[in-house]
């Protein structure tokens, strides 16, 4: 089926509409993605995700995409909207004037179906950086906390805000060209633990590699794309300094 493209912004029964151009890929029948267009109501408080749900609920039940919390914190609904990686729950249709709005899966990831991408590689990268608190020696009893002042908390807090939405990977030309690159979110997550005053681990071996921080050429688009202001570009550059200093001065600590 293919809906006929119609001009957006026209009025149907008094209601404004906007055209969504949605990338469809059905592995059983398509060798590559094709676009289908749908007209959906254009309402001031509708996000792109509301438009997609309208399509799924009322126009074409076969459209597949991921979403859950629709409040910008679960990280499921990242897609490419008019060429840019965005969280569709927080991107309003009104942003696109008369439309059309082009919705594609996140770039840089293999497409499973329609707007759904494969993220196993991303998860493997997260696991790879040992994203847990590494302690040596005796553990404290469960009545006492590892003291951490607000300043010490502030030192890594920003890097702990990642929702794993993968927009940064999609925005990163290095990752899109070379999927072996460890990538922004994973390195930022490593830094989240590296800079945590409670952590005693060492992730130099994991990060000081060609696929680690040295794969980054500092395009900086990960930071622009990040909906949570994690600033992965900064995390990576900071670790470049750390890794370089530790290479030159082997006795230096992080």
């Amino acid at each position: 089926m293919s809906a006929k493209a119609t001009r957006a912004g026209r009025s149907t029964g008094g209601e404004r509409t906007i055209t969504l151009e949605i990338s469809r890929f059905r592995p059983e029948q398509d060798s590559e993605p094709v676009f289908e267009t749908f007209d959906v109501p254009l309402r001031d408080d509708w996000a792109v995700l509301d438009g997609l749900n309208h399509v799924k609920d009322q126009l074409d039940g076969t459209l597949s995409f991921r979403w859950s919390c629709r409040m910008g914190v679960c990280g499921s609904c990242g897609m490419t909207v008019n060429g840019k990686p965005r969280l569709t729950c927080g991107t309003f249709l009104t942003e696109f004037g008369a439309g059309p709005v082009r919705i594609e899966p996140l770039k840089g990831f293999p497409v499973i179906r329609d707007l759904v991408v494969e993220i196993d590689d991303f998860l493997a990268k997260l696991s790879h950086v040992k994203p847990w608190l590494i302690r040596e020696g005796e553990e404290l009893p469960l009545t006492t906390e590892y003291a951490q002042t607000p300043e010490q908390l502030e030192a890594y807090k920003q890097y702990s805000m990642c929702i794993n939405c993968m927009l940064c990977y999609s925005a990163c030309p290095v990752y899109v060209l070379n999927p072996d690159f460890l990538g922004p979110a994973a390195i930022a997550l490593a830094q989240r633990y590296n800079l945590d005053s409670r952590d005693q681990g060492d992730r130099l071996d994991l990060l000081n590699t060609d696929e680690g921080v040295w794969g980054c050429t500092f395009v900086g688009e990960c930071t622009s794309a990040c909906p949570k202001h994690v600033d992965p570009a900064e995390a990576i550059q900071r670790y470049k300094v750390t890794a370089a200093m530790r290479s030159v001065l082997p006795w230096a600590r992080r």
Binding site: G61, R66, C69, R70, I112, L153, K157
Partner: protein, 577 residues
């Protein structure tokens, strides 16, 4: 053969997985979740997690606040265990790296919260659930023995001879249906807010685990107790955390009047007073909203009546420091800035006090089947859960269920039951039928919407016999029509429409039990308010509702006395000392 199979990868499920891995590394533990674990709805919890740690606070006070907040429907033995273990669990999270907000000296900070007499709510700014879930998820990555089935949807439990033997699940990506044999199963699938039209709950919260248990013969408990949170953003239902009121926010009506003073919740004070006014319990605040609406003192909007949450007097600096996510959400989703604008809010379905009936260790009456978290009902929440008790609950009872399931699996070493294969094959046939033929009837979304509006009309903040009885009929007809629901998508690859259909059936199960329990409880208590029975009736209903699925498929409601230890039922007093 999996020793402990956990359905659901949210806070309770992951905590249970770690508990198993820590007690016995030789055990195999699997987490089967329909979404990647970090997408689970725990991620959306904002305000905090209660646990006694501050000087001058006591476990008994936490227990009393919880029990009185729950209108004496809590099992007091469960509450006592809970308040003891909550601080330890929160501390364990600290040891795993959770970025709790801190005092200047480096100790964990606590904040006030609704219905709590003391400051005992730990928080990580106002993204507590997010940090808690990510800390748990990242900690599970440490354990090689935890196997994950990400984006697998469990469609049924394999039960034979009164005992669970595993699950049948569909791998969403490939459409492959597989029976997974397991010695024990822990349900940790969260709540079912999506049976209502206006909810803070994520799309995934469709009551799957409740339905699985119910169909497997385990009863559901206290399903009539549905918590409305008083402050949801209109249209989206996005939650504005109670922490906004704990930090000093006011609720005002269309005249700018702090109306809660008219509802026996104390007198307005400039700074927040514990267990008073805006820091009253959620049921009472939501009920006060309806009264204001009836008096014509709410503001009409395209998305229904609202009142306002006023944070302006807190100032930008405090809002930014303590509740930045509130500001972020208001700006991104409501196009306003709480530092300068009033936030329109209305009560919104938030939490299920009820759930799968379990004992203190998460065990259900079906041998080998456990449940923990919002999907379970232990019960510590009674007729109304206090804000910031649910996060420690998923930790305490997630860990308990994990340990209990591991113990059960150790004692039951027999091999795979024959039922696993046969039920797996049955389920495969059933799903293939749904997939291939589909239906020609109504759209899934239309059925879902009708169910949601039925529930809101009948089982909202106030209920009556007549609307509930009518809802029973509507749900029956919905059940029939759902059997022929239209399925457009015949693909086996990431078929979300098929999942929506199975979810719809689960939601209809849960909806029926909510309405049946509400109809049966002819009293008003906590979040269950009957206009035709406005008083609490301890004579008859100091008891849990227990719904079984009768052989006819219809719900059958019974009662189970509440466990009382040290706190005899009393009056709920707020705003008066």
């Amino acid at each position: 053969m999996i020793d402990v199979l956990i359905v659901g990868g949210g806070g309770a499920g992951l905590r249970a997985a770690i508990a198993v891995a820590e007690t016995d590394p030789s055990m195999t533990v699997a987490v089967v979740s329909k979404v990647y674990p970090m997408r689970s709805h725990t991620v959306s919890a904002e305000g905090g997690a209660a646990g006694v740690i501050a000087d001058g606070d006591t476990l008994d006070e936490h227990a009393y606040d919880t029990i009185s907040g729950g209108d004496w429907l809590c099992d007091q033995d469960a509450v006592e265990a809970f308040v003891v273990e909550a601080p330890r669990e929160l501390m364990r999270l600290e040891h795993w790296g959770c970025p709790w907000s801190r005092e200047r000296d480096g100790r964990v900070a606590v904040r006030p919260f609704g219905g709590m007499k003391r400051m005992r709510t730990w928080y990580a700014a106002d993204k507590t659930g997010f940090h808690l879930l990510h800390t748990l998820f990242q900690t599970t990555l440490k354990y090689q023995e935890i196997v994950r089935y990400d984006e697998w949807y469990v469609t049924s439990l394999v039960v034979d001879d009164g005992r669970v033997h595993g699950v049948v699940a569909v791998e969403i990506r490939t459409g492959r249906v597989e029976a997974i044999a397991a010695r024990t199963v822990i349900l940790a699938t969260g709540g079912c807010g999506r049976v209502f039209p206006f909810t803070t709950n994520a799309a995934i919260k469709t009551g799957d685990g409740m339905s699985l248990a119910y169909r497997a013969g385990a009863p559901l408990k206290d399903m009539e107790f549905v918590q409305y949170h008083p402050t949801g953003l209109p249209f989206t239902g996005i939650l504005i955390t109670e922490a906004a009121r704990a930090e000093g926010g006011w609720l005002i009506n269309k005249d700018g009047y702090r109306y809660l003073q008219d509802y026996d919740l104390g007198q307005p004070t400039a700074t927040p007073k514990l267990r008073s006014m805006e820091l009253g319990p959620r049921d009472r605040l939501s009920q006060a909203f309806v009264a204001e609406q009836n008096k014509g003192r709410t503001v009409e909007t395209p998305y229904g009546p609202v009142v306002y949450l006023d944070l302006r007097h807190l100032g930008e600096a405090k809002i930014e420091a303590r509740i930045p996510f509130v500001r972020e959400l208001c700006r991104s989703y409501q196009n306003l800035d709480p530092a300068t604008d009033l936030i329109p809010v209305r009560p919104v379905v938030h939490y299920m006090m009820g759930g799968v009936h379990t004992d203190l260790h998460g065990a259900t009456p079906v041998a080998g089947l456990f449940a923990a978290g919002e999907t379970a009902c232990v019960s510590i929440n009674g007729a109304n859960r206090l804000g910031s008790n649910s996060l420690p609950e998923i930790l305490v009872f997630g860990a308990r269920a994990g340990a209990a399931a591991a113990a059960f699996a150790r004692e039951h070493r027999e091999g795979e039951a024959a039922a696993v294969r046969s039920q797996g094959a049955d389920e495969q046939r059933r799903l293939r039928r749904a997939l291939e033929s589909g239906g020609t009837g109504p759209r899934i979304a239309d059925l879902r919407e009708e169910m949601q509006h039925t529930l809101e009309g009948a089982a909202g903040i106030y209920r009556t016999h007549d609307t509930l009885a009518k809802a029973v009929e509507t749900l029956e007809s919905l059940r029939e029509r759902a059997a022929d629901a239209r399925v457009d998508d015949h693909s086996t690859t990431f078929n979300t429409e098929l999942i929506s259909l199975v979810e719809l059936h689960a939601m209809l199960d849960v909806a029926e039990t909510i309405v049946a329990s509400a109809l049966n409880r002819t009293e008003s208590r906590g979040a269950h308010q009957r206009l035709d029975f406005p008083a609490r009736d301890d004579e008859r209903f100091l008891a849990h509702s227990l719904v079984h699925r009768a052989p006819s498929g219809n719900p059958s409601v019974g009662l189970l006395p509440v466990a009382l230890t040290r706190w005899p039922p009393g009056e709920r007093i707020y705003g008066r000392d």
